[in-house]
Protein backbone atom coordinates (compact mmCIF):
# COMPACT_ATOMS: atom_id res chain seq x y z
CA UNK A 1 0.00 0.00 0.00
CA UNK A 2 1.19 3.47 -0.83
CA UNK A 3 0.01 6.94 0.09
CA UNK A 4 -1.45 9.08 -2.64
CA UNK A 5 -2.68 12.64 -2.61
CA UNK A 6 -5.95 13.28 -4.40
CA UNK A 7 -6.80 16.74 -5.69
CA UNK A 8 -10.57 17.03 -5.55
CA UNK A 9 -12.69 19.86 -6.90
CA UNK A 10 -15.95 20.69 -5.16
CA UNK A 11 -18.50 23.25 -6.25
CA UNK A 12 -21.27 24.98 -4.37
CA UNK A 13 -24.81 25.47 -5.57
CA UNK A 14 -27.85 27.05 -4.00
CA UNK A 15 -31.17 25.43 -4.52
CA UNK A 16 -33.78 27.49 -6.30
CA UNK A 17 -31.63 30.40 -7.49
CA UNK A 18 -30.94 29.13 -11.01
CA UNK A 19 -28.20 31.01 -12.82
CA UNK A 20 -28.43 33.96 -10.47
CA UNK A 21 -25.52 32.66 -8.43
CA UNK A 22 -21.76 32.57 -8.92
CA UNK A 23 -20.67 29.25 -7.38
CA UNK A 24 -17.68 28.83 -5.16
CA UNK A 25 -15.14 26.26 -6.26
CA UNK A 26 -13.06 24.53 -3.63
CA UNK A 27 -9.92 22.54 -4.28
CA UNK A 28 -9.18 20.02 -1.60
CA UNK A 29 -6.16 17.77 -1.28
CA UNK A 30 -6.51 14.65 0.83
CA UNK A 31 -4.54 11.49 1.47
CA UNK A 32 -5.57 8.12 0.10
CA UNK A 33 -3.86 4.79 0.80
CA UNK A 34 -4.07 2.34 -2.10
CA UNK A 35 -2.12 -0.32 -3.95
CA UNK A 36 -2.11 1.50 -7.27
CA UNK A 37 -2.91 4.84 -8.83
CA UNK A 38 -6.16 3.54 -10.33
CA UNK A 39 -7.25 2.12 -7.01
CA UNK A 40 -6.36 5.41 -5.39
CA UNK A 41 -8.50 7.32 -7.89
CA UNK A 42 -11.51 5.06 -7.32
CA UNK A 43 -11.10 5.43 -3.59
CA UNK A 44 -10.70 9.19 -3.95
CA UNK A 45 -14.00 9.44 -5.81
CA UNK A 46 -15.76 7.57 -3.01
CA UNK A 47 -14.09 9.68 -0.36
CA UNK A 48 -14.89 12.84 -2.27
CA UNK A 49 -18.55 11.92 -2.51
CA UNK A 50 -18.62 11.16 1.18
CA UNK A 51 -17.52 14.76 1.77
CA UNK A 52 -20.47 16.21 -0.11
CA UNK A 53 -22.77 18.07 2.23
CA UNK A 54 -25.41 20.79 2.51
CA UNK A 55 -26.61 23.32 5.05
CA UNK A 56 -28.61 26.55 5.30
CA UNK A 57 -27.07 29.99 4.89
CA UNK A 58 -28.20 33.09 6.76
CA UNK A 59 -30.92 33.72 4.17
CA UNK A 60 -32.38 30.26 4.73
CA UNK A 61 -31.19 29.01 1.37
CA UNK A 62 -29.90 25.48 1.06
CA UNK A 63 -26.22 25.48 0.09
CA UNK A 64 -25.07 22.23 -1.51
CA UNK A 65 -21.45 21.20 -2.03
CA UNK A 66 -20.83 18.47 -4.60
CA UNK A 67 -17.76 16.76 -5.95
CA UNK A 68 -17.09 17.86 -9.51
CA UNK A 69 -14.00 15.83 -10.25
CA UNK A 70 -10.84 14.25 -8.93
CA UNK A 71 -8.43 16.34 -10.91
CA UNK A 72 -5.16 14.75 -9.88
CA UNK A 73 -3.77 11.73 -8.11
CA UNK A 74 -0.16 11.86 -7.08
CA UNK A 75 1.86 9.34 -5.15
CA UNK A 76 3.58 10.53 -2.00
CA UNK A 77 7.27 9.84 -2.51
CA UNK A 78 8.03 9.07 1.13
CA UNK A 79 6.81 5.77 2.52
CA UNK A 80 6.26 7.05 6.02
CA UNK A 81 4.42 10.24 6.85
CA UNK A 82 6.51 12.25 9.26
CA UNK A 83 7.32 15.88 9.88
CA UNK A 84 8.40 17.40 6.62
CA UNK A 85 6.92 14.78 4.34
CA UNK A 86 6.09 16.46 1.09
CA UNK A 87 2.56 15.74 -0.02
CA UNK A 88 2.10 18.20 -2.86
CA UNK A 89 4.09 20.60 -4.96
CA UNK A 90 3.58 22.65 -8.07
CA UNK A 91 6.00 24.33 -10.39
CA UNK A 92 5.52 27.41 -12.51
CA UNK A 93 7.60 30.07 -14.21
CA UNK A 94 7.95 33.16 -12.11
CA UNK A 95 6.35 35.07 -14.96
CA UNK A 96 3.31 32.83 -14.70
CA UNK A 97 0.71 34.66 -12.66
CA UNK A 98 -1.23 31.49 -11.92
CA UNK A 99 0.10 29.44 -9.05
CA UNK A 100 -1.33 27.00 -6.58
Amino acid sequence: MNWYVAEAVFQSSIEGVGTNYDPLVERSWFLVSAGSENAAREKAVLLGRSKEHSYSNSEGENVVWQLKTIENIREVMDEVLVDGTEVWSTMARSSDSVSQ
Partner: protein, 323 residues
Protein backbone atom coordinates in the same frame (compact mmCIF):
# COMPACT_ATOMS: atom_id res chain seq x y z
CA UNK B 1 -11.52 61.48 4.36
CA UNK B 2 -9.17 64.41 4.10
CA UNK B 3 -9.70 65.60 7.61
CA UNK B 4 -6.74 66.92 9.44
CA UNK B 5 -6.18 66.44 13.11
CA UNK B 6 -7.16 70.03 13.77
CA UNK B 7 -10.45 69.66 11.96
CA UNK B 8 -11.26 66.56 13.91
CA UNK B 9 -10.68 68.41 17.15
CA UNK B 10 -13.15 71.04 16.02
CA UNK B 11 -15.87 68.44 15.70
CA UNK B 12 -15.91 67.87 19.40
CA UNK B 13 -19.17 69.32 20.76
CA UNK B 14 -19.76 71.57 23.71
CA UNK B 15 -20.51 69.94 27.06
CA UNK B 16 -23.64 67.86 26.71
CA UNK B 17 -25.52 68.62 29.91
CA UNK B 18 -28.25 71.24 29.39
CA UNK B 19 -26.40 73.27 26.84
CA UNK B 20 -27.41 76.91 26.73
CA UNK B 21 -27.35 77.96 23.11
CA UNK B 22 -27.28 81.45 21.71
CA UNK B 23 -29.38 82.17 18.64
CA UNK B 24 -29.54 85.23 16.48
CA UNK B 25 -32.88 86.94 17.06
CA UNK B 26 -34.91 87.49 13.92
CA UNK B 27 -37.00 90.59 13.35
CA UNK B 28 -39.88 89.60 15.59
CA UNK B 29 -39.44 88.81 19.24
CA UNK B 30 -37.67 85.51 19.84
CA UNK B 31 -35.90 84.12 22.84
CA UNK B 32 -32.25 84.84 23.21
CA UNK B 33 -31.47 81.45 24.63
CA UNK B 34 -32.86 77.93 24.45
CA UNK B 35 -32.38 75.33 27.12
CA UNK B 36 -32.25 71.84 25.71
CA UNK B 37 -33.29 68.67 27.43
CA UNK B 38 -31.06 65.65 27.33
CA UNK B 39 -32.05 64.25 23.98
CA UNK B 40 -32.05 67.59 22.22
CA UNK B 41 -35.68 68.65 22.63
CA UNK B 42 -35.99 72.30 23.55
CA UNK B 43 -37.40 73.00 26.97
CA UNK B 44 -40.71 74.75 26.28
CA UNK B 45 -40.57 76.70 29.54
CA UNK B 46 -37.66 78.72 28.32
CA UNK B 47 -39.11 80.29 25.25
CA UNK B 48 -42.00 81.11 23.02
CA UNK B 49 -42.11 80.52 19.26
CA UNK B 50 -40.07 77.42 19.81
CA UNK B 51 -41.19 75.64 16.67
CA UNK B 52 -40.03 78.40 14.40
CA UNK B 53 -36.73 78.49 16.13
CA UNK B 54 -36.12 74.74 16.15
CA UNK B 55 -36.84 74.23 12.50
CA UNK B 56 -35.27 77.35 11.13
CA UNK B 57 -32.99 76.10 8.34
CA UNK B 58 -29.38 77.02 8.33
CA UNK B 59 -29.18 77.00 12.10
CA UNK B 60 -26.76 74.82 13.92
CA UNK B 61 -26.13 74.86 17.65
CA UNK B 62 -28.80 72.44 18.76
CA UNK B 63 -28.09 70.55 21.94
CA UNK B 64 -25.19 68.63 20.41
CA UNK B 65 -24.08 71.17 17.81
CA UNK B 66 -25.56 69.13 15.02
CA UNK B 67 -27.29 70.54 11.97
CA UNK B 68 -31.03 70.08 12.20
CA UNK B 69 -32.92 69.36 9.02
CA UNK B 70 -35.57 72.04 8.60
CA UNK B 71 -38.21 69.78 7.11
CA UNK B 72 -37.87 66.67 9.24
CA UNK B 73 -36.49 68.12 12.42
CA UNK B 74 -33.85 65.40 12.51
CA UNK B 75 -30.29 66.05 13.63
CA UNK B 76 -27.55 64.91 11.28
CA UNK B 77 -24.83 63.03 13.15
CA UNK B 78 -22.57 62.21 10.22
CA UNK B 79 -23.35 58.52 10.08
CA UNK B 80 -27.02 58.65 10.99
CA UNK B 81 -29.98 60.93 11.58
CA UNK B 82 -31.20 61.36 15.14
CA UNK B 83 -34.72 62.19 16.26
CA UNK B 84 -34.57 64.25 19.43
CA UNK B 85 -38.32 63.90 19.93
CA UNK B 86 -37.95 60.15 20.24
CA UNK B 87 -34.45 60.08 21.66
CA UNK B 88 -33.50 57.53 19.03
CA UNK B 89 -31.53 57.32 15.83
CA UNK B 90 -33.77 56.80 12.82
CA UNK B 91 -31.65 53.93 11.52
CA UNK B 92 -29.88 51.15 13.39
CA UNK B 93 -26.25 51.01 14.24
CA UNK B 94 -24.16 48.44 12.42
CA UNK B 95 -24.87 44.98 13.89
CA UNK B 96 -22.09 43.60 16.09
CA UNK B 97 -20.69 47.09 16.32
CA UNK B 98 -19.78 47.94 19.87
CA UNK B 99 -22.49 45.86 21.46
CA UNK B 100 -21.35 44.87 24.89
CA UNK B 101 -22.86 41.74 26.47
CA UNK B 102 -22.49 43.21 29.93
CA UNK B 103 -24.24 46.48 29.03
CA UNK B 104 -27.90 45.96 28.04
CA UNK B 105 -28.17 49.58 26.88
CA UNK B 106 -25.72 48.74 24.11
CA UNK B 107 -28.03 46.07 22.70
CA UNK B 108 -30.43 48.63 21.24
CA UNK B 109 -29.04 49.59 17.84
CA UNK B 110 -31.22 52.72 17.74
CA UNK B 111 -30.34 54.14 21.13
CA UNK B 112 -28.31 57.27 21.66
CA UNK B 113 -25.30 57.25 23.99
CA UNK B 114 -26.48 54.28 26.01
CA UNK B 115 -29.75 56.14 26.74
CA UNK B 116 -27.91 58.54 29.02
CA UNK B 117 -27.73 61.91 27.24
CA UNK B 118 -27.20 63.85 30.45
CA UNK B 119 -23.80 62.24 30.75
CA UNK B 120 -22.66 61.30 27.26
CA UNK B 121 -22.67 62.60 23.73
CA UNK B 122 -21.99 60.97 20.39
CA UNK B 123 -20.44 63.65 18.20
CA UNK B 124 -20.22 61.75 14.95
CA UNK B 125 -22.81 59.00 15.32
CA UNK B 126 -20.03 56.52 14.68
CA UNK B 127 -16.31 56.36 14.20
CA UNK B 128 -14.47 53.92 12.01
CA UNK B 129 -11.23 52.20 13.00
CA UNK B 130 -8.94 50.75 10.37
CA UNK B 131 -6.63 48.14 11.81
CA UNK B 132 -5.36 46.66 8.57
CA UNK B 133 -1.98 48.33 8.63
CA UNK B 134 -1.30 47.64 12.27
CA UNK B 135 0.86 44.67 11.51
CA UNK B 136 3.07 46.51 9.06
CA UNK B 137 3.80 49.84 10.66
CA UNK B 138 2.17 49.77 14.07
CA UNK B 139 -0.56 52.29 13.39
CA UNK B 140 -4.32 52.31 13.02
CA UNK B 141 -6.50 54.79 11.18
CA UNK B 142 -9.53 56.46 12.74
CA UNK B 143 -12.08 58.11 10.48
CA UNK B 144 -14.77 60.36 11.93
CA UNK B 145 -18.37 59.44 11.28
CA UNK B 146 -17.81 57.32 8.23
CA UNK B 147 -16.28 54.08 6.99
CA UNK B 148 -15.42 55.16 3.48
CA UNK B 149 -12.84 52.44 2.86
CA UNK B 150 -12.85 48.71 3.27
CA UNK B 151 -11.36 47.11 6.33
CA UNK B 152 -12.89 49.49 8.85
CA UNK B 153 -14.80 48.64 12.01
CA UNK B 154 -17.59 50.95 13.13
CA UNK B 155 -17.70 51.84 16.79
CA UNK B 156 -20.53 53.59 18.58
CA UNK B 157 -19.11 57.00 19.24
CA UNK B 158 -16.04 59.18 19.01
CA UNK B 159 -12.87 57.41 19.96
CA UNK B 160 -10.31 58.96 22.24
CA UNK B 161 -7.27 58.15 20.13
CA UNK B 162 -5.03 58.44 23.17
CA UNK B 163 -6.89 55.57 24.77
CA UNK B 164 -6.05 53.03 22.08
CA UNK B 165 -4.19 50.08 23.52
CA UNK B 166 -3.01 47.15 21.52
CA UNK B 167 -2.64 43.75 23.16
CA UNK B 168 -0.30 41.84 20.95
CA UNK B 169 -0.79 38.54 22.74
CA UNK B 170 -4.58 38.65 22.42
CA UNK B 171 -4.58 40.41 19.08
CA UNK B 172 -7.00 43.04 20.35
CA UNK B 173 -7.26 46.79 20.23
CA UNK B 174 -9.14 48.35 23.12
CA UNK B 175 -10.39 51.91 23.18
CA UNK B 176 -12.32 54.44 25.17
CA UNK B 177 -14.43 57.36 24.05
CA UNK B 178 -13.64 61.03 23.89
CA UNK B 179 -15.11 63.99 25.77
CA UNK B 180 -14.14 63.10 29.28
CA UNK B 181 -16.91 60.69 29.99
CA UNK B 182 -17.13 57.41 28.22
CA UNK B 183 -20.04 55.31 27.08
CA UNK B 184 -18.14 52.24 28.05
CA UNK B 185 -15.20 50.86 26.20
CA UNK B 186 -14.75 48.45 23.39
CA UNK B 187 -12.39 45.96 21.91
CA UNK B 188 -11.68 45.10 18.31
CA UNK B 189 -10.30 41.60 18.15
CA UNK B 190 -8.49 39.35 15.74
CA UNK B 191 -5.79 41.84 14.84
CA UNK B 192 -2.64 40.02 13.79
CA UNK B 193 0.56 40.74 15.62
CA UNK B 194 3.22 42.62 13.74
CA UNK B 195 4.89 39.98 11.63
CA UNK B 196 8.35 40.69 12.93
CA UNK B 197 7.11 40.16 16.48
CA UNK B 198 5.01 36.99 16.26
CA UNK B 199 4.09 36.94 19.93
CA UNK B 200 5.35 37.75 23.36
CA UNK B 201 5.22 34.34 24.94
CA UNK B 202 8.11 31.93 24.68
CA UNK B 203 11.80 32.34 25.23
CA UNK B 204 12.48 32.87 21.57
CA UNK B 205 10.32 35.97 21.54
CA UNK B 206 11.46 37.58 24.76
CA UNK B 207 14.30 39.31 22.95
CA UNK B 208 11.90 40.58 20.31
CA UNK B 209 9.53 41.76 23.01
CA UNK B 210 12.33 43.59 24.73
CA UNK B 211 13.10 45.17 21.40
CA UNK B 212 9.55 46.47 21.24
CA UNK B 213 9.90 47.93 24.72
CA UNK B 214 13.02 49.71 23.61
CA UNK B 215 11.16 51.16 20.67
CA UNK B 216 8.23 52.38 22.75
CA UNK B 217 9.66 55.78 23.52
CA UNK B 218 10.46 56.86 19.98
CA UNK B 219 7.16 55.56 18.67
CA UNK B 220 5.11 57.34 21.31
CA UNK B 221 7.02 60.52 20.76
CA UNK B 222 6.60 60.32 17.03
CA UNK B 223 3.01 61.51 17.02
CA UNK B 224 3.68 63.90 14.17
CA UNK B 225 5.07 61.05 12.15
CA UNK B 226 1.97 59.04 12.81
CA UNK B 227 -0.45 61.56 11.28
CA UNK B 228 -0.41 59.97 7.90
CA UNK B 229 -4.01 59.46 6.86
CA UNK B 230 -7.61 59.63 8.06
CA UNK B 231 -6.65 62.47 10.34
CA UNK B 232 -5.43 60.28 13.15
CA UNK B 233 -2.92 57.54 13.32
CA UNK B 234 -1.68 56.16 16.55
CA UNK B 235 1.09 53.78 17.30
CA UNK B 236 0.01 51.68 20.27
CA UNK B 237 1.67 48.30 19.73
CA UNK B 238 4.98 49.24 21.18
CA UNK B 239 3.32 50.88 24.18
CA UNK B 240 1.14 47.85 24.76
CA UNK B 241 4.07 45.51 24.40
CA UNK B 242 5.81 47.53 27.05
CA UNK B 243 2.71 47.21 29.24
CA UNK B 244 2.74 43.46 28.70
CA UNK B 245 6.33 43.16 29.74
CA UNK B 246 5.79 45.38 32.75
CA UNK B 247 2.69 43.51 33.89
CA UNK B 248 3.91 40.02 33.16
CA UNK B 249 2.91 37.51 30.57
CA UNK B 250 -0.84 38.03 30.86
CA UNK B 251 -0.79 41.57 29.42
CA UNK B 252 -3.14 42.95 32.06
CA UNK B 253 -4.44 45.96 30.14
CA UNK B 254 -5.71 43.78 27.36
CA UNK B 255 -7.09 41.24 29.75
CA UNK B 256 -9.14 43.93 31.48
CA UNK B 257 -10.58 45.05 28.17
CA UNK B 258 -11.38 41.50 27.22
CA UNK B 259 -13.32 41.10 30.45
CA UNK B 260 -15.50 44.07 29.55
CA UNK B 261 -16.22 42.85 26.08
CA UNK B 262 -15.23 39.23 25.47
CA UNK B 263 -14.11 39.04 21.90
CA UNK B 264 -11.17 38.60 19.64
CA UNK B 265 -9.12 35.53 19.01
CA UNK B 266 -10.75 32.18 19.72
CA UNK B 267 -13.62 33.82 21.62
CA UNK B 268 -14.77 35.99 18.75
CA UNK B 269 -17.92 34.95 16.92
CA UNK B 270 -17.93 34.14 13.24
CA UNK B 271 -20.34 36.99 12.55
CA UNK B 272 -17.99 39.48 14.12
CA UNK B 273 -14.97 38.07 12.30
CA UNK B 274 -16.82 38.28 9.00
CA UNK B 275 -18.02 41.83 9.56
CA UNK B 276 -14.53 42.91 10.47
CA UNK B 277 -12.20 40.99 8.21
CA UNK B 278 -13.99 39.05 5.49
CA UNK B 279 -15.75 39.96 2.29
CA UNK B 280 -19.45 40.03 2.99
CA UNK B 281 -20.06 37.80 -0.02
CA UNK B 282 -19.03 34.72 1.96
CA UNK B 283 -22.26 35.00 3.93
CA UNK B 284 -23.91 33.38 0.92
CA UNK B 285 -22.01 30.15 1.59
CA UNK B 286 -21.43 30.47 5.32
CA UNK B 287 -23.37 27.90 7.40
CA UNK B 288 -25.91 29.90 9.40
CA UNK B 289 -25.71 27.54 12.37
CA UNK B 290 -22.14 28.74 13.00
CA UNK B 291 -22.66 32.49 12.58
CA UNK B 292 -22.99 33.05 16.31
CA UNK B 293 -20.44 30.42 17.28
CA UNK B 294 -17.00 31.35 18.47
CA UNK B 295 -13.93 30.37 16.53
CA UNK B 296 -13.08 27.86 19.26
CA UNK B 297 -16.52 26.24 19.00
CA UNK B 298 -16.30 25.99 15.22
CA UNK B 299 -12.80 24.54 15.43
CA UNK B 300 -13.99 21.92 17.91
CA UNK B 301 -16.83 20.79 15.63
CA UNK B 302 -14.53 20.79 12.61
CA UNK B 303 -12.15 18.46 14.43
CA UNK B 304 -15.06 16.17 15.12
CA UNK B 305 -15.60 15.90 11.37
CA UNK B 306 -18.74 18.05 11.01
CA UNK B 307 -18.57 19.18 7.40
CA UNK B 308 -20.46 22.45 7.87
CA UNK B 309 -18.05 23.42 10.64
CA UNK B 310 -15.12 22.64 8.37
CA UNK B 311 -16.63 24.77 5.65
CA UNK B 312 -17.16 27.61 8.11
CA UNK B 313 -13.55 27.40 9.25
CA UNK B 314 -12.25 27.38 5.69
CA UNK B 315 -14.33 30.43 4.77
CA UNK B 316 -13.06 32.29 7.83
CA UNK B 317 -9.44 31.40 7.22
CA UNK B 318 -9.07 31.63 3.45
CA UNK B 319 -7.22 34.84 2.71
CA UNK B 320 -8.86 35.09 -0.69
CA UNK B 321 -11.94 36.31 1.12
CA UNK B 322 -10.08 38.91 3.14
CA UNK B 323 -11.49 42.44 3.00
Amino acid sequence: MNMTAAKIESLFPPPPHHVLTQNSPPAHQLPTAILYQGFGVANSNTTTSIAACLYDSGRRSRSTSKERDAETGLDFFGARYFSSAQGRFTSPDQPFNDQNPSDPQSWNLFSYVRNNPLKFTDPSGQDCVYTGNLSSDGTVGVERGNCSQSGGTFVDGTIDTKSLTYNQRAGTLSYGYANGDTIGAGVIGGIPAPSEYPGIDGEANRAAAQQIVNQAGPVVNGVGEALKFFGYLVAPPAMAAADCIAAGKQCSAGTTAMAMFPGGGEGETAAKIISRTRAGSILREFPSQYLNSTLAEIRKDAKEGIQAARKALKLLQDNRFKK
